[in-house]
Amino acid sequence: MDKAFLTVENLNKRYADDAPPVFEQVSFSIDKGEFVCIIGHSGCGKTTILNVLAGLEAPSGGVVIMDQREVKGPSLDRGVVFQSHALMPWFSVLGNVVFAVRSRWPDWSRAKAEEHARRFIEMVGLQGAEQKKPSELSGGMKQRVGIARAFSIEPKMLLMDEPFGALDALTRGVVQDELLKICSATHQTVFMITHDVDEAILLADKIFLMSNGPHARIAEVVLNTMPKTRTRESMHHDPQFYRIRNHLVDFLVHRSRRIQEAGAVDLVTRVVTPGLEESVPAQASDNFPQAALAS
């Protein structure tokens, strides 16, 4: 635990003093190079957690420690890909990425910054579109520019808030493949919010499942037991895919609410490996009588 790259301890957030906390007792850790997806229903505070990690929002309690330093305020160490891509429409594609690059390395010459930016634009497959304005791009291309911008500052960690939420299924698949390729090439540590179960299984090493808010918490950490070499095309032929998928869907449909209703305190986050249940310590599942019933 103490050698983890990012540690979150006992995070909670309430928006009003008399209101119940949106989430509480949120503790987890992420290792270097790990890809983590977080899934949960709307209102469980996923985006708030991401904003806290990004330093854009302050938690009501708890700490975030990254690389042995407490996270307080935004930093270039953490790149953020926003749900709405958040490109600046008055800059070209290149201008948007160069803006980030020059924020990271202010003393670089314009030429050097542009060269660096071009490399990342190429990486997301947008060579030739450098001079275009964001308004001339499709949704998928815009999101790729957002990814290029986040990667271009070479952050220690990448935070993504439903980056593909607004894309159609086909484009989404293409951009997912792109992201997977880049992440495995750069060993990027990623924390990503998604609503898409298949997306989580394809991309993530670990999937955090959040119970419903208020009083939301991370109820389970699902280890992705599929081989690292999984691809979007062949993934669904592996029986293991369905074991994980069913587990996730069951959680979202039934258990996320039951855990909230049970309202038990001091729950230990359960680590599960769907399909390989024999590897789970017996006592861990005992923490969740309701969960055990459902599965």
């Binding site: 854009l56 953020v80 500052i153």
Partner: protein
């Protein structure tokens, strides 16, 4: 492209037709025979006018002149003469229209520029700081609705220079729309863009010039366009008051000369100049507008 071009043609045709109608009505209304008949219809007015004309040492030998309102031919003659030599200068009371417009434009330009230098940074401050916005709001709300000409006596007394007072009046009338629009534009920059700047640890100066300014530029330009419109309205009145030079003074001077053709000509020129200024700002606005 084709239907819109066709629409343009048709609109132009109607505009021309309306213009023709206007000229025709003008011509009919000012034609000597027509005016005589109208005057007869009114009653005693005609004879009273005749008597007055005789008293003034004029006879009705030139009916077009005494009927007051100039006809199209006179108008055309004046326009031709004025436009042939727009920059002549025969002393303080006889300058070409170009020189007078130049004076007015210089005053408007200077007052407007000073207003921009004050209003845009101040607007940035108001837009970025809700505290300052609230603190300054009562002042702005009270000062904004004051007619700029109401400041004139105070300006004349304190500045003791009519020309600078004119510039001050232009400043005070153009400052408010620019201030309000800049503050609004800066305050409503999209959260996402500011968050991007935050996560990139952008320095305040870079953030102001590379994020907030371009994001708020269309709104700021709208404010500037409104300000310029108001300034051009106010300059005529201000120059009528302070006198000396400028298109407003020209109008008043020609009224004192009872030269209605020159007054109408000046009115036309004020309109055309105002339109050109507005088009200029529309062009600028188009330059900074972005599509999301």
């Amino acid at each position: 492209m084709k239907p819109s071009a066709q629409l343009g043609w048709r609109a132009g045709l109607i505009s021309l037709a309306l213009f023709g109608c206007l000229l025709l009505v003008w011509h009919l209304a000012t034609a000597p025979k027509e005016s005589a008949r109208i005057e007869a219809g009114v009653g005693g007015g005609a004879s009273a006018d005749d008597e007055y004309a005789k008293l003034m040492g004029k006879t009705s030998s030139s009916p077009a002149k005494t009927s007051g309102f100039p006809g199209l031919a006179q108008m055309g003659e004046t326009i031709r003469k004025e436009l042939a030599h727009p920059f002549y200068d025969n002393g303080p009371n006889d300058k070409g229209i170009g020189i007078q417009l130049g004076y007015s434009l210089a005053r408007v330009g200077l007052g407007f520029a000073i207003a921009a230098v004050v209003a845009i940074p101040l607007g940035f401050l108001l837009g970025m700081s809700p505290l300052m916005q609230r603190a300054l709001n009562p002042f702005i709300q009270i000062l904004k609705p004051i007619s700029p000409l109401a400041w004139m006596p105070l300006a004349l007394y304190t500045i003791k220079d009519s020309s600078i007072s004119g510039i001050f009046v232009i400043f005070i009338c153009s400052v408010w729309p620019m201030l309000m629009n800049t503050a609004f534009g800066v305050a409503s920059v999209r959260r996402d863009w500011l968050n991007v700047a935050k996560t990139l640890e952008v320095t305040p100066l870079r953030k102001a010039f590379l994020v907030i300014l371009p994001a708020a530029a269309p709104t700021i330009l709208t404010g500037m366009r409104i300000s310029m419109g108001i300034a051009w309205l106010v300059i005529v009145a201000a120059e009528m008051l302070v006198g000396g030079t400028g298109i407003g003074y020209f109008v008043w001077n020609e009224w004192n000369n009872l030269s209605l053709t020159s007054v109408i000509f000046a009115i036309l020129m004020i309109g055309v100049t105002g339109m050109v200024l507005d088009l200029l700002f529309a062009r600028l606005q188009k330059l900074v507008t972005y599509t999301e």
